[in-house]
């Protein structure tokens, strides 16, 4: 984490430097601008990252890696979620939610396919009624306009 903060700090300073050069070209005489805060944040991130890496290391937290069934559920759940993001623009909200909710019930809940289908269908229907019919929320319609 310390290394990540150092990298972000360098990125912020670099962006500040780029913006500083632009400001001096665009706004003559301005003493502060869009570069000021990136400089401050960059310097702070650099210092904090370095201190975490070398000086004031926060106490190490032992984190047990998920294993067995929970790990499988997490991986499958994340995979289905990523697929959701990919298919929504094509299938639209309703079609993809029906598919994805069934997949999530199957992957995360471990339900058999018929029950997962039933739960997925019921959830999609309820969400459709709540958001599209009652709250008139605009949602992606996809290629088929659904």
């Amino acid at each position: 984490m310390g290394g990540m903060l150092v990298l972000l700090g360098i990125l912020s300073l670099w962006e500040g430097w780029r913006l500083h050069a632009l400001r001096t070209q665009m706004v003559a005489g301005a003493v502060v601008g869009d570069d000021t805060f990136p400089f401050i944040v960059g310097a702070a991130l650099l210092l904090l990252g370095a201190s975490i890496l070398f000086v004031a290391k926060p106490p190490q937290v032992k984190v047990a890696r998920p294993s067995g069934e929970p790990r499988m559920r997490m991986i499958l759940g994340a995979g289905v979620l990523a697929a959701y993001w990919v298919i929504v623009p094509y299938l639209g909200y309703t079609g993809s939610t029906a598919l994805v909710s069934t997949g999530l019930f199957r992957a995360m809940g471990g339900y058999r396919w018929p029950l997962a289908l039933l739960l997925g269908g019921a959830t999609t229907g309820l969400l459709y009624l709540l958001f599209r019919v009652w709250l008139l929320q605009p949602l992606p319609t996809g290629l088929l306009g659904l």
């Binding site: 990136p38 702070a44 201190s51 993001w85 959830t123 992606p140």
Partner: protein, 503 residues
């Protein structure tokens, strides 16, 4: 008189059928999520945020406030019946609430918790009614340097939200500031950190960030943990007169401690509940009863929790400073509707402010009259398998992230934030400072740039103006106070749970 007439107008709006329904719905939904083991108010607001994004501002904020109160009440239920605190503020409730439940007095503990919360919450809102407008009036004299001082004061909140490690807290805060920089610069509209990628020009959406960090990560954390359900039958939730007589002084003291400390911007409920519990134990003629089912041990921290939460609305509405993670999410909600909490909110949107304040009174009453009779239903709801709840939360998260800007990019951002939030939470990096800094970052930058432009680049301007100097000195003092309080709370949490603090 002016305040009372404003409040009367507020009640007129808060009691309209729509607003009343939203307050009731928020309280019920908040309790529903809060009662699920391990889920606290912050996660509850984040998960249910999507439902409010399609509403007009006043009903939406009323519903969010209801969710906040409801989730806190729900958290007490799991603390008392299962010995599982959703957030650190519920830890002291476990100490005597759970032994009471084991003795078959769980219903009475829940009843006292609800009555104490109602009393403290209402007292807190009364103080909010009279104190917040006064504070906002004073703040009307502020210019950019004073506002910058105020933002520095808000920064001290990070100390109490840092989970016991200041370095981690500040690291997360500056990460939040960094994320807030993405998009167009405020002075010249020059893209920053966008790498010429169009979708990043609009910056990171606040709701996508909240939904990802708190709701999506929560689902995956939940998958990892073995969830438990409440199996006991709760019969009588109405305390006897003798119970009330025993608990009432503790409720009064808890309210006082919670409210007074809650006024400090750096004092979260996690701190005040332990103070209230310890004071009660010290004042008791029979301190040996504490930890074994003393009713005062439930009444005092529960009252302190609600009093602090209500007091937190004062700096939130009057100055724009959230004192805790759930209030930071609420602040985010206000910003989504284009409402900037602070002194000008009382001037520009008085109807909105007073409707929300009035709805807090209404919400407290709704919680008391709905939740006590419904306790059996809440207990039953904890038996819903996580395999059903998890997917539903994820599907709601999708809509929440999408609905603010109708953008699939925001949905992607929320998924990425979910992964980051999962990693950070597992490794005990506090999320609240990141969120707070992300929200306050643009304001801090704006006031910094304006102030430095006024002074020709000299930072001495912050020390030359009385109010800004006082605010900066106040911030330094508050930081020291917060550090002492966090150290005290950290030690107490370790003593009671043998776990690290996660405020």
């Amino acid at each position: 008189m002016d305040v009372l007439s404003h409040l009367a107008t507020g009640f007129g709006a808060a009691l309209s059928p729509t607003n009343l329904m939203m307050a009731a719905l928020g309280s019920l939904l908040g309790t529903l999520v809060g009662v699920l083991p391990g889920l606290g108010p912050t996660a509850a607001i984040a998960i249910l945020f999507p439902l409010t994004t399609v509403l007009p501002p006043a009903p939406a904020i009323i519903m969010l406030a209801g969710i906040y109160y409801g989730a806190m009440y729900g958290g007490s239920t799991t603390a008392i019946l299962l010995n599982i605190p959703g957030e650190v503020a519920s830890v002291p409730t476990c100490l005597d609430g759970y032994p009471m439940a084991q003795q078959g007095r769980g219903g009475v503990a829940l009843g006292i918790s609800a009555i104490g919360s109602f009393f403290a919450g209402t007292m807190g809102v009364v103080a909010l009614t009279f104190f917040a407008p006064f504070l906002a009036d004073q703040a009307l004299r502020f210019g950019p340097p004073e506002y910058f001082g105020l933002m520095v004061l808000a920064f001290t909140v990070i100390a109490s939200l840092s989970g016991g490690s200041l370095v981690r807290g500040f690291a997360m805060a500056f990460l939040g500031y960094f994320i807030s920089l993405i998009g167009l610069g405020p002075s010249t509209a020059e893209p920053r950190f966008t790498f010429n990628w169009g979708p990043l020009m609009g910056g990171v959406d606040l709701i996508a960030l909240i939904v990802g960090l708190y709701a999506i990560s929560e689902v995956f954390i939940g998958l990892e943990e073995a969830r438990v359900a409440i199996t006991q039958k709760i019969r009588n939730v109405f305390p006897r007169l003798a119970d009330l007589r025993e608990a009432f002084p503790a409720i009064l003291r808890g309210t006082g401690i919670g409210f007074l400390l809650g006024l400090l911007p750096g004092c979260a409920p996690g701190v005040t509940v332990f103070m209230a519990y310890d004071v009660e134990k010290k004042l008791s003629k029979h301190p040996e009863r504490f930890g074994k089912g003393a009713i005062e041990g439930v009444a005092a921290p529960e009252s302190a929790n609600n009093a602090t939460s209500s007091a937190g609305f004062i700096p939130l509405l009057a100055l724009g400073i959230p004192a805790s993670a759930p209030l930071a999410v609420l602040l985010g909600g206000l910003l989504v509707y284009g409402l900037q909490p602070g002194p000008l909110l009382f001037q520009k949107n008085p109807e909105f402010v007073w409707t929300v304040i009035a709805s807090l009174y209404v919400g407290n009453v709704i919680l008391l009259i709905l939740n006590l009779p419904l306790i059996g239903m809440w207990v039953w709801l904890t038996r819903i398998p996580y395999g059903i709840l998890g997917p539903v939360i994820l599907l709601l998260a999708f809509i929440g992230a999408y609905s603010v800007r109708n953008s699939m990019f925001d949905v992607g951002v929320s998924f990425v934030c979910g992964a980051i939030g999962f990693f950070l939470r597992r490794h005990k990096w506090p999320l609240a400072p990141l969120l707070l800094a992300f929200i306050l970052g643009p304001l801090l930058e704006k006031y910094l740039i304006q102030s430095l432009s006024m002074s020709g680049g000299s930072p001495l301007i912050f020390l030359q103006r009385g109010i800004s100097l006082a605010l900066i000195v106040g911030a330094a003092l508050l930081l020291l106070t917060s550090l002492a309080l966090v150290r005290y709370t950290s030690r107490r949490v370790k003593e009671e749970t043998a776990e690290e603090l996660e405020l």
